[in-house]
Every structure is written in structure tokens, then in C-alpha cells.
């Protein structure tokens, strides 16, 4: 198989995303395709987190996963957490980004729990 070929489902989807220093960001829960890109459609972003994941389930499960995640959003924005594809530095067993942890917005649930629960326990 040529090195420049990548099968999205088998080699990209559901893989772990990590920052440059090796910290977990999330899974590649979906990929965004820009259909109108000049020169043919391209992958424009990695989508990660519960909102993207929820869309992959069916029925009530899908609604439940997605809506609980959307409720945590402070901005009222209901689209999934998006990581621009330009931030990707390599794709292997792990998808590694070229940015450090501090440059990324934390996941909603992570932030909420850190502020309201875990962060309040001594030693956190």
C-alpha cells in the first residue's frame, strides 16, 4: 500500500488524539469534509467529543449522548468540538497534534467537572 494513502475508517476514525507533549485530547469521533475545496474535497477537521460521537449512534442513545453534551455548552453552540486538520502533525496509532495542551479548548465535560466537582477536592 502506498505511503500516501490513508483509509479514513480504518486508520483515522476512532484513534486517540494527543497533543505534542503526549496528553490526551479525545478520539477522532468523526472527520469533517470540505466538499467545495478547490481541487476536490478534502478533510478539513477532526471532530471529537460527545456531540460528534452521539451522531454515530442510533435512536434514543444518539439523542441522549448528544443532548447531554450540548447542555454543558456555555455558549449555546451545539456543533461538535472541532480540531482544524492543519494542527495535525502525524497520523499513526495515535494522531498527534503540533500544538501543546494549553493551546486547546478543554472538553466541556472535563472543564465542567473540574470546576464544579473534582477541582474542589483538596489536592486536585
Amino acid at each position: 500500500m502506498a505511503d500516501n494513502v490513508l483509509y479514513a475508517g480504518r486508520q483515522l476514525l476512532d484513534r486517540q488524539i494527543a497533543t505534542v507533549e503526549g496528553r490526551s485530547v479525545g478520539k477522532v469521533d468523526d472527520l469533517e469534509i470540505d466538499v467545495d475545496h478547490p481541487g476536490g474535497p478534502v478533510v478539513s477537521a477532526l471532530l471529537t467529543g460527545q456531540i460528534a460521537l452521539g451522531a454515530r449512534f442510533f435512536g434514543r442513545m444518539s439523542v441522549w449522548v448528544t443532548s447531554t453534551a450540548q447542555r454543558l455548552r456555555e455558549t449555546g453552540d451545539t456543533s461538535p468540538r472541532r480540531i482544524d486538520v492543519r494542527l495535525v502533525s502525524s497520523v499513526a496509532a495515535t494522531v498527534t497534534l503540533r500544538v501543546p495542551h494549553g493551546d486547546l479548548e478543554p472538553a466541556d465535560l472535563e472543564r465542567w467537572l473540574a470546576e464544579h466537582f473534582i477541582g474542589r477536592i483538596p489536592g486536585a
Binding site: S24, T48, F57, E110, L113, I118
Partner: protein, 410 residues
Amino acid sequence: MKKLLQVALGVLTAIGGFVDIGDFVTSSVVGARFGMGLAWVLVVGTVGIIVYAEMCGRVAALTKRAVFDVVRERLGVRFALVNLSASYFINLLTLTAELAGVAIAIQLATSVNYLLWIPLVGLVLWLVVWKLPFEVMENSFGLLGLALLVFVISLWKLGPDWSAMLDHAVHPAVPSGEGRPTWWYYGIALFGSAMTPYEVFFFSSGAVEERWGRQDLMTNRLNVFIGFPLGAVISLSIMACSALVLGPLHVQVSHVSQVGLPVALAVGKLGIAAMLVGFFAATFGASLETLLSAGYVFAQYFGWPWGKAAPRPREASRFQTLLLLTLFAAMALALTTLDPVKVTEYSVVLSAAALPLTYFPILVIANDRGYMGDQANGWFSNTIATVYLIIIGVVALVTLPLMLATKAGM
């Protein structure tokens, strides 16, 4: 020299960490009821866990990925969720049993009812996962667990007719008065106690955590190939002790207190002390492992930070929240006064039934040369691994029907 010490430590903790409440209780229950007639299952189960754990360690070392990471990638997001729910539920049941086991160890030393100890044990457990240097804890509990070798000494002191015992073990027969389904049901329980999935979740997560690489493959093999069989010798000794002392009196083992009686008979007070230390360490270590495994499976499925990828608890707030919820759930379950021995039996039986869910994807990825390169399974390991795939497939299919047919072994 330092390397050698490390390897020795790994092997010793693998021995001490092999036995948990599942092995402890099931071996004794089966020994008292069926003699050595099901000892062969323990051998089959131990070879199984060796094959399984070695693959997981190898996959973790080469891909830097733990079990549930692989499960989601290979089985797809939906099927892996079913898998996650089942694994988490069984893990919770196991944690409940181990937690009760720790409390019972303290009860047996103090005669204060175990239910009163559960909140305290839960609190200490949480403090350990919250702050303490985990590797130190893991190693100390593994080493303390070696105190269970007192069962080997006891067996030797009881002076059994070794050849008759061996004869019984290699010519298994269903004892009169026992139904064939019951015999098989307990066989599955024993198989599940040896091949507990949480051990593998934990083992592979630990390997990823410690950044195992190609150079650690030898350590992996030594831990597994030497540590596990020696650990299984402890299980076999527990079984044999019960078969010798409790079996002839038709004792039905339903309490941990009964398991230690042969030790008291053979070695006396010091023996009981060693057994209690070993049992405490084994169950406490296993409580830690099951609790963390509950967090690992979720974190690895959803891609949350866990372990060293999040140096401070607040950076892994989802993981830490889940640990707390799981611990509370297990404590609540234990406090409902569910019989700990029964909970243990269900947890090992259901573990056996759920094995294919994680074993299968690991087997597939251990064969993927895209990941594993020259360390992919060879024909020899694949032959054994395929035999076990068939065994655990059959076990998974028959477990629930057998459970209902035998009313869970009654």
C-alpha cells in the same frame, strides 16, 4: 543488576498479584466440593491467561495502546459500547467482591463485622488512587500477596497422598450425587477466576503507562510465563488444602473463614496470620486494579486523559469522577449485605462469559503486521490462541444457560 532486580520484582508481584478473591474463593469452593477433579480447568485457565496477557503486553509495548483503545478501533463505536457496558458491569461486580474481601480480612483479624469496615476501606482505596505513588503500592501489595504461599506450605505439611491426588486430578470424574451441569458450571467459574479480564485491562494499561517498548518484551514474557504459573500453584494449593481437609466432611465453602481452616490445622497461628496478610494484600491490590480498570475502560473508549497523561487529578476530572462514582456504587452494593462469596462466584462466572469481547480484538490486532511488524503472532502462538478463541467462545455460549439450569450451581 538493577535490571535483574526489576525483572525479579516484576515476577514476584505477578505471583503475588495472581490470586484475588475470585481465585481464593472459587478454588476452595471447588476443592471442597469436587476434590481435585477440576484442577485441570485451573491449568487450562492459567495457560489461557498467559496467552492472553502476553498478547496484550506485546500489543501495548508496540502500539502503545491499551485494550479498550484497540476494542473500539477494531469493533467499531457501537459494538464497542455494548462491550464497554458489559465489561464495566462485571468489573463493578468484581470490585464489590474484592472490597468485601478486604473488609473480611480485617474482620477475621479483629472479629468486628466486615460491613463496618467497608466505608473505611473505601476511603483508603480512594486516597491511594487520588494521590499516592501508584507503582509503589502495586509492588508492595504484590509482594505482600506472596504470604499466600502459606497454602503451599500447608499442603506440604498436611502430607497428602501425592500420587492419589495426581491420579484424581488427571482422571477427572463427576462425583456421585453431583449433576454434570453443576460440574461444568463450577468448571466455568474456575476458568473465569483464572482468566479475569480486569487483570488484562490493568496489565496492558500499566504497560502503556510505563511506556513499554520493544525492549520490554522480554520482561513481559518473564512476568507472564514465570509469574502466572507460580501464582496458579497458590490457587492449586488452596484447592488441594480444601479437598483434603474440608472435602471429606462435606463442607460447603460459603465463607472466607472456612478457606483458612486447613492452614490453621497445618501451620497454626502464624499460618493464619500469613494467610490474612496475604488475603488482605491480594484483595486490596485487586480492589485498586478493578477500580482503576473501571476508569481505564471508559477513558480508553472515549479518549479521556487518564494516568500520567494527566499529572493532576483535575486534569483528568472525568476519569476521577468515574472512579468516585464506581467506588460509591461498589461500596453501596457491598453494604446491601449481598453474600460476598456469592458475588465473587457471579463475578468470575460472568467474567468467563464476557471473555470473547476483549480477547477477540486483541487476537486480531496481535496479528496485524501493520502495527506489530515482526512481533506479530507466529504460527505457534496463533495455534494456541485460536484454540483458546474456540474455548472461550463455547464457554461464553453455554455460561448463561448453565447458570439458569443449575440455579447458579446449587
